[in-house]
Every structure is written in C-alpha cells, then in structure tokens.
C-alpha cells in the first residue's frame, strides 16, 4: 500500500496532489452543505417529496403499508439467515448484519431529526425501524423450526404484498378511493418502479424464451418486439403511450395517465430484460436440457427446474442493473406531467418562496435515488452469493 502510493517521487507527487484535490472537494461540499445550503426547502416540503398530494387523513394507510413492508423485509432477512445453505452453513448474526443494523438505526435516528419532522412522525419512523429489527431477530430466533418448504414460498411474499399495497394505496374494498392523480413524490416513483419491475420480469422471461423458440411466429414476434423497443428512446414511447393507448382501448377502459406510463415503463424494461435473460440462456450448455429431457421431464418442467434457475442466476447482475436503470428512468415520467420525485422537485423549485434552492433539491433527489439503488444492489449481491453453487471460499 505504502509502496504503491509513495513508491517513487512521481507517485508521491501524484498521491499528494490527488489527496489535496479530494480534500478540498470534500471540504467544499461539507462547507456548502452545513453553512451555505438552505435546507428549509427540503424540510418544508418533506411530505410533498414523500407522498405528493396524498390526502392527509388517508395517510395512515401508507404508514400501515410501510410497517408491513418493514416486517416483510425483517422476516425475509431473518429467515434467510436462520436457514443457511446446507452445504455451507453460516452465522445467524454475521458481522455484516451488525453493520446493517447499526446503519439502519443511525438513519432512523438521524434523518427524521435532521429533517425536523414532527415528533409524532419521528416516533413512527423509530417504531417502524424497531419493528423491522424485531421481526429480523424473531425470524432468526424461531425460523429454524420452520421447514424449508415454507422458505420456498418466501418469494411469493412480494407480489402478494404488492397487491395488498396497491389496495391500501388505491383504496377500494371499503377504503376510500384515492385516485392516482393524487399520488406523488417518492410514493409514485416507487409504485411505478415496482410495478414495472414485478411485471417486466415474467414478460422478459417469456420474450427471451420466445426468441429461442422453434415456432417461427413466436420467434419473429419476440425479435420484432425486442428490437423495436430497444431502438426507440423511452421518452418517445412515453408520449406515444399517453396519446395512443386512449385510441387503442375503448373509452372507459383506457387506464389512468399514471398507469399508462407504468405500462410503457414495463414494456420498455421487458425488452431489455429479455436480452439479459437470453444471455443467461445461451450460457447454459445444451447438455442440461438433454439430461433433463432424458430423465423424462417435459420441456416446461425442464425449463422451470433446470434451465431457468441457472440462466436467471447468470443473468441476475445484468437484470439488477436493468432494474436500477428502470428506477432512474422513472424520472422521465415528470416529462409527461406526472408528479413523481422529479416532477415534485420541479414544482417545488418553481415556487417563488424557494427560488434558487435547486442544488439542495437535486442533491436530496440524488441521495434518495442512490439509497434505493444501493439497497437493490446489496440485496442482489446477497442473493447472488446464496445462489452461487461454487463459492470461491
């Protein structure tokens, strides 16, 4: 280390110069953030950034959903640790988990305080964090008694939660309806992104299989779809979707503007995902399918139990990369007039009361997106390690 950084006079000079540059940049940022920046723009609009114009008296539904999500996350986390892979074993509380717990607690304490949130709301965030950690602990503690079969059902938790979540957000079944036009901020960003992620996945897998199918119609249809979507910029597709879906579907059936955009996002992401899955399928030697077929498995059985699990594992890093860009692409929704994070930011910055506070707003947005993407990346890397049949260690 020392030899690398200060090996020769040239290296030493370069190291010192870089250190100086880094130091002054860090100092500049800190000075700006702590002294010059006026964070009132974020503090005063924190609800707007979080949920947009979602009616105040219905927001308990969002709190309930957040609590459910936290509990589900804690459950999945704890169960995965309490059922380590049989061939490898593993700690119930590895060091990484303690770091994660520390980070979560620090964020839960610091961010509401820094945003000067209402003490009541601050308390809710603490409660939700405590719930997550408590469920994590409980699932780790008692999870061992659950058979592995139950664990196999765990991935179904997320689509299920999505349905429950949409019911809570959207209303219906006795809950007061809140139209999509009232959703906004981070809430709308996450709704659009998770809708597209959940749906583009099966769609992308089907397209990838279609592209390799023996049936010419299916194959050419898939190729045409994938190449058309990949050849068009997202923004044109978004405008096209807003204008065209109305013509394609009879009157009352055309979905709301929010859902039109979410569908376009889904169809867009599916084409890219299909390519990632295809690369995974290509990487699986044909002998795998032959072995499965010669054991009597039908083609759907062989795909489901032998080929796809391997292909998806190969494709996982690329797929998560697609999901991350999908999350970032939701900012484009602001261009068709939706009030997701970016759209909200633009209205806030247009407010004369907060004139010239663009840097604060953009930095907040960047940090929010970075947090979401980092969470996706961390989760995917943990999944990759768990699914890797031949770990280096």
């Amino acid at each position: 280390m020392r030899a690398e950084l200060f090996g020769s006079p040239g290296n030493s000079a370069l190291t010192l110069a870089l250190l100086a540059a880094l130091g002054s940049a860090a100092f500049g940022l800190l000075h700006w953030g702590l002294v010059q920046a006026r964070w009132a723009v974020v503090r005063a609009n924190s609800t707007l950034f979080a949920v947009g114009r979602y009616p105040q008296e219905q927001q308990w539904r969002l709190w309930l959903l957040t609590a459910l999500l936290a509990a589900a996350a804690g459950l999945a986390w704890g169960l995965l640790r309490s059922h380590p892979r049989r061939d490898r074993g593993g700690d119930l509380w590895p060091q990484n988990d303690w770091i994660a717990v520390g980070l979560l607690a620090a964020i839960a304490l610091a961010v509401p305080w820094w945003l000067r949130l209402d003490p009541l709301i601050q308390g809710r965030w603490w409660g939700i964090t405590a719930l997550l950690l408590l469920v994590r602990w409980a699932a780790g503690h008692w999870g061992r008694r659950l058979p592995a079969r139950v664990l196999a059902l765990l991935p179904l938790l997320w689509p299920l939660l999505y349905l429950v979540g949409m019911l809570l957000i959207n209303g219906g079944l006795g809950l007061l309806p809140v139209p999509p036009g009232d959703w906004g901020g981070l809430l709308l960003t996450l709704i659009a992104a998770s809708f597209a992620i959940l749906l583009c996945f099966p769609l992308g897998v089907l397209l990838a299989l279609g592209r390799r199918s023996d049936l010419p119609l299916l194959r050419w249809g898939s190729v045409l779809y994938i190449e058309f979507i990949r050849g068009a910029p997202l923004i044109t597709l978004l405008f096209l979707g807003q204008n065209m879906i109305g013509f394609l579907l009879p009157g009352g059936l055309a979905p709301d503007r929010v859902w039109r955009a979410a569908w376009v996002l889904t169809f867009f992401a599916a084409a890219y995902l299909a390519e990632a899955v295809r690369a995974g399928l290509v990487a699986i030697p044909p002998g795998q399918l032959e072995a499965a077929r010669s054991l009597g498995l039908t083609i759907p059985q062989a795909l489901r139990t032998v080929v796809l699990p391997q292909a998806l594992r190969v494709a996982l890093p690329t797929m998560v990369g697609q999901f991350i860009s999908l999350l970032q692409d939701t900012t484009m929704l602001s261009l068709v007039g939706l009030m997701e994070l970016m759209g909200t930011a633009r209205t806030v910055m247009a407010n004369p009361a907060f004139l010239g506070r663009n840097a604060e707003v953009y930095l907040t947005l960047a940090v929010l997106f970075w947090c979401c993407c980092a969470a996706l990346g961390l989760g995917s890397r943990a999944l990759e390690r768990r699914l890797d049949p031949n770990p280096a260690s």
Partner: protein
C-alpha cells in the same frame, strides 16, 4: 470372466432397423443402422470418431429424430408422438460423457428431481432410495454437496445413480469415461460392471475401453460411416473379426 454375466433373455428391449438420419444441415449421419438389444444384455458400440455412435444411441431415447427406418423400445415404436416420447424417456436412462449434472442442485436433489416431478412419487421415499443408490456407487457422504465440489469420477457415479433413481429398464452410456482422468476411469467402470452383473441391467455402452468390453459385454458392435458393420461376442470381435474395417479399427486402438 464373462461366465459371471447373466445371460440375456429373448425379450427384445431395443429393435432398430434401417435407421437413416440427416442432420438439418443435410449431413447424412446414419445410413441404415440396425441393432437389436435383448433384456439383460450389455452391448458395447465402438467405432471411429464421427461414425455416428452418439447419434445412433441418442435416437433410442428420442434426443435425436430420424427420417427413415424403425426403432422400437420395449414394444413402443418411436414416432413423433410426444406422449410416447415422454413414456420412452421415462424407461430409458442416459449417462453422458460430460456428466450433465444439474450444478444448481445438490447431489441428492439431482437424484430426486425427476422421480418426484415425473413419477410423482413421495419425496421422503425417493430420498431414502436416492441415499441407498449413492451408497451403492460409494458416494453416500457427498449427498449434500453440489456437483461442482466433486471429482469427475464422483460426478459420473452421481450421474449413473441419478439415472437409476428413475428405475429405468435400459441404460444408455455415451463415452462415460472419456472425460475422466485415467485414475478415475476404474471406479466408474466398476459401478457399470456391478450393474450388469448384479442387476442384469440392459445397457448400451459407447466406449473405447477394451477391457470393459471384453469382460462385461455380451456383444460388441462396430459402427462406421453411419452403419453397423460388425456384431460379435467380445472374444470373437477382438481376436478374429470378420470385417476388414473392424480389423483396421482394432489396429488403431489396440
């Protein structure tokens, strides 16, 4: 040595006659190949590289289609009827040169996958049977490992056990020891030999292991240019072959 072999019965398990196969690129890989295999019989197929050995045995479980001729497996004629193909694949096991184990499943799961999924058998019962099979191929202690953590010889023995777990009536082997280091060839051949001797398993084996052919096979077959050129008991095949092409082939490998 071959006296220890059980004699084959008269029941015909595989009956292939006049099989022609063209690959999609037009290559004529099988040119009227014929072979019949009786229940309990061990047939070794030899022949130069590219002579169509793999193609031929892969037609027996419909991994390859063919354009002319007939193949009957345990009384079922191979056609394009998918349900019949599935029925035949359940009765015919296949062991590949590259093992083709499922790397994302443990050894035990490799064995139990098909019986549970295809035969709809009870999982616990299949697991017990799978462990017994692993014991028989001498790798009981590896049941919870992944294939990538085993040696080549161990992997091939798992592949054999995986086929056996479906309780097939016929086992096809396509060069089962060609991808193995020399010191591992023996352990695999021994397992195959036990299968033939103790179980009377019907086996068709593509291999260049002369000792295995001499000691275990009832008949040895030479393929060349997509045809079966010679069929003879091993003593005759290796010492006094009738065909010129067999002699030329033996000169190269012996």
């Amino acid at each position: 040595m071959s006296s220890a072999l059980q004699p084959p019965t008269a029941h015909r398990m595989i009956e292939a006659s006049g099989v022609h196969k063209w690959y999609p690129n037009g290559f004529h890989a099988l040119r009227g190949a014929s072979l019949s295999v009786h229940r309990g019989e061990v047939v070794v197929i030899m022949g130069p590289s590219g002579s169509g050995k793999s193609t031929f045995i892969r037609t027996f479980n419909a991994l390859e289609d063919f354009q002319q001729g007939t193949i009957t497996v345990d009384g079922i004629a191979l056609s394009n009827d998918l349900r019949q193909i599935d029925a035949i694949r359940r009765e015919v096991g296949m062991v590949f040169q590259q093992f083709n184990l499922f790397p994302h499943l443990t050894v035990l799961e490799n064995l139990t996958l098909a019986p549970v999924l295809v035969r709809r058998r009870d999982r616990a019962e299949v697991e017990a049977q799978a462990r017994a099979l692993l014991q028989r191929v001498n790798i009981a202690e590896q049941a919870d490992k992944f294939p990538g953590q085993l040696s080549g010889g161990q992997q091939q023995r798992v592949a054999i056990a995986r086929s056996l777990c479906m309780e097939p009536k016929i086992l096809l082997f396509d060069e089962p020891t060609s991808a193995l280091d020399p010191e591992m060839v023996r352990e695999v051949l021994e397992v195959m030999q036990d299968l033939a001797r103790d179980e009377g398993m019907t086996m068709v084996v593509v291999t260049h292991e002369v000792r295995f052919a001499r000691e275990v096979a009832h008949r040895v077959v030479l393929m060349d240019h997509g045809e079966v050129v010679e069929e003879a008991p091993p003593e005759l095949f290796f010492t006094n072959p009738s065909h010129r092409r067999t002699r030329a082939f033996l000169d190269q490998i012996l």
